[in-house]
């Protein structure tokens, strides 16, 4: 038996991938279990926006501050998986224009670099933005490619000794008294069921966290909240184009490679698997997108997709009013020592989420190992396969 504690991480989305990296870097033995392809949950199908925090700087300052902090770190540790073209917040109505000062004050308060640029200049940089815009503010948004985002963290974890088993689904927990001592898995490659022992288990299954927690008979207040995105098969904007108002349906167009993605909506779903897309959501979102960039009307629709956010329920609030920040739960107090859940948050804040849950894991294991992920560059995502 190895003396190094073994930690199982369930889920290879952005949260689980970053957590595997953090724990491996702290010297722990890590095994990642993912039921499908890496990033096949919410992470893969998200909007790809490396948030500057601008989107949240008025109604969710805590979330905005996390975003800009993590944005700066990711630029340093995974430059190879990012498109860095900034974001432009544009005012299209009188109301938006009236919101400008609040927006700029929010950016300043959250330390998000923001600079107003004259409308005429904004239209020279972004020739397809609605020519009637009233104001434009540039912020350091970016774009990540979600699969490569996860693969970069996992590749680095593997370099540091972690094992990643995709197509391996967790079916149940193994208990000794009130302590989780492992999991039962079904390996889809072999069709075989196995048990794996662990000193700690991290539930990093995002919108599925409640389902996984229920297997251990503990609760996690995660509310799967779906969002739709529409992809247009041509790139009409260089920067991420955001509407300058409180976050709303269809108010952001994220360009990636040679496409533009219009997003997004927000509604509660019962199951995060294979979400049905309401037609009216697509139509209303396309209309909202066209207000920002009229040319999108002519664009060829390339795909539509929907996934669920792992929103943490804090009150009986409207789906969009939930905080986008994350929570870690140590289930010891619920009779499942050895199990922790990390959920909520964003892909942009995955590293910060990993730091928080890894601190808890190390605390439980009585290990004093500082987090080193802020300054450790990640290896190429391609090494995931080495």
């Amino acid at each position: 038996m190895s003396l190094i504690p073994h930690v199982i991480v369930i889920g290879a989305g952005s949260t689980g991938s970053a957590t595997a990296h953090d724990l491996a870097l702290r010297g722990l033995r890590v095994t990642v279990l993912e039921r499908g392809e890496i990033a096949s949950g919410t992470t893969g199908r998200n909007h790809c926006l490396l948030h500057s925090g601008g989107r949240y700087c008025v109604n969710d300052k805590e979330g905005a501050i996390e975003c800009i902090r993590e944005n700066l770190i990711l630029r340093r540790i995974m430059p190879h998986a990012l498109e860095l073209n900034d974001g432009l917040f544009v005012a299209v109505s009188d109301e938006d224009l009236a919101f400008k000062e609040t927006f700029l004050a929010g950016c300043a308060e959250c330390h998000i670099p923001a600079r107003e640029i004259p409308v005429r200049q904004a239209l020279e940089i972004e020739p397809f933005v609605n020519p009637d815009i009233r104001a434009a503010v540039q912020v350091p948004d970016g774009v990540f490619e979600p699969w490569r985002f996860c693969a970069s963290f996992l590749a680095t974890a593997i370099k540091n000794g972690a094992a990643v088993r995709n197509f391996t689904e967790v079916k149940d927990f193994i208990f000794q008294g009130h302590t989780v001592t492992g999991v039962t898995v079904l390996d889809h490659r072999t069709g075989e069921t196995e048990t794996l022992g662990a000193d700690m288990v991290v539930n990093a299954t995002g919108a599925w966290a409640g389902i996984i927690a229920a297997m251990a008979e503990v609760d996690v207040p995660v509310v799967p909240t779906a969002g739709v995105m529409v992809t247009i098969g041509e790139r009409f904007n260089n920067m991420v184009i955001n509407r300058m108002h409180l976050p709303h349906d269809g108010d952001i167009v994220v360009p990636i490679r040679n496409t533009s993605i219009i997003g997004t909506t927000s509604w509660r779903v019962t199951s995060p698997d294979a979400i049905e897309i309401p037609r009216e959501q697509i139509d209303s979102m396309r209309q909202a997108g066209e207000l920002l960039m009229p040319i999108l009307k002519a664009g060829r629709q390339r795909g539509i997709m929907a996934v669920a956010r792992p929103l943490i329920s804090k009150a009986n609030a409207d789906a969009r009013a939930f905080s986008r920040t994350f929570e870690a739960y140590n289930h010891r107090s619920q009779g499942a020592a050895g199990l922790v859940t990390i959920s909520g948050g964003k892909t942009t804040t995955a590293r910060g989420m990993a730091e928080k849950v890894s601190d808890i894991v190390c605390g439980e294991l009585g290990i004093d190992a500082p987090c080193k992920t802020r300054t450790t560059p990640l290896v190429s995502y391609r090494e995931f396969y080495n």
């Binding site: 499908g36 392809e37 890496i38 990033a39 096949s40 992470t43 893969g44 199908r45 790809c48 944005n71 700066l72 190879h80 998986a81 498109e83 860095l84 073209n85 900034d86 670099p113 600079r115 200049q121 020279e124 940089i125 972004e126 020739p127 397809f128 540039q138 350091p140 490619e145 979600p146 699969w147 490569r148 197509f167 889809h188 490659r189 072999t190 069709g191 995105m229 992809t231 098969g233 790139r235 009409f236 904007n237 260089n238 920067m239 990636i256 490679r257 040679n258 496409t259 294979a274 049905e276 897309i277 390339r302 795909g303 539509i304 997709m305 190429s380 391609r382 090494e383 396969y385 080495n386």
Partner: protein, 248 residues
């Protein structure tokens, strides 16, 4: 409106011989083939193995063959097949992990061999219109950083599956890897690095193996034009050999 679709999927696993299984699923008429595959997994058989992540042709994971043609099912509308049954098979010329999942290890090693960087500087235009300014803010200093883009290649492996040379020579470097060498060559002026890249392309299983079938360019969903890159590399290598033989 929702439509009923029949999918014939090639199944296999380490302990299960390859065989076809037929599933009926109901999908929206606006759905793409990947949605239909996901519906099979969600409602018919949770053991189905398939790769997918972004659903918008950026990650490159979902490549399969639909009715014998290599495609990214995330951007192929089910409407293209007007309700006819679809046969879904894994890519050719790769080892099979299970069902529709192939082993990408060798592929990614070849992509990495040239140190192919997946980003590139932005052009000064968008859909034919000039962009006035091609730098962004560096949030940590007052300086400007150049705008960039991801490369067109999504590393899906479709070109290798479509390639007849690959079928005969499994060690062939492959269209994507050779196209990556060409892109990397375009990005560097360092003579040592250029020499290394040309030697990589000139190897025993490199550009000269290609039978010029152009199937890769035909199948590539991302306009990478790997066949053209292979031809351009041949020219560069020939020039290099000439220079080596006859001096400057």
């Amino acid at each position: 409106m929702s439509i009923t679709l029949t999918l014939r999927i090639l199944r296999s696993r380490r302990d299960v011989m390859p065989h076809y299984e037929t599933f009926e699923v109901s999908v929206s008429d606006a759905a793409n083939v990947l949605d239909a595959i996901e519906q099979v997994w969600a409602h018919r058989d949770r053991k189905l193995m398939f790769r997918h992540a972004c659903h918008h042709a950026s990650c490159g994971t979902c490549a399969v063959r639909i009715n014998g043609r290599e495609k990214l099912p995330c951007i192929v509308p089910v409407a293209d097949y007007s309700g006819k049954p679809l046969t879904i098979e894994p890519l050719r010329n790769f080892d099979i992990v299970g069902d529709l999942v192939v082993d990408m290890a060798k592929f990614f090693q070849n992509q990495q061999a040239s140190d192919f960087v997946i980003t590139r500087p932005t052009e000064n235009e968008l859909v034919g219109k000039p962009i006035a300014y091609t730098g962004g803010m560096d949030p940590e200093s007052a300086s400007t950083i150049p705008f960039n883009r991801f490369e067109n290649c999504v590393e899906c492996g479709i070109c290798l599956s479509a390639c007849p040379t690959m079928a005969g020579d499994h060690k062939f470097f492959g269209p994507a890897g050779l196209a990556a060498i060409k892109r990397q060559l375009d990005k560097t002026t360092d003579p040592v690095e250029r020499k290394r890249l040309l030697e990589l392309a000139d190897g025993e299983h490199g550009v000269w193996r290609c039978h010029s079938a152009w199937e890769c360019t035909e199948a590539c969903p991302q306009q990478v034009f790997p066949a053209e890159s292979i031809m351009a590399l041949r020219k560069e290598i020939t020039k290099k050999h000439f220079r080596e033989l006859f001096g400057k």
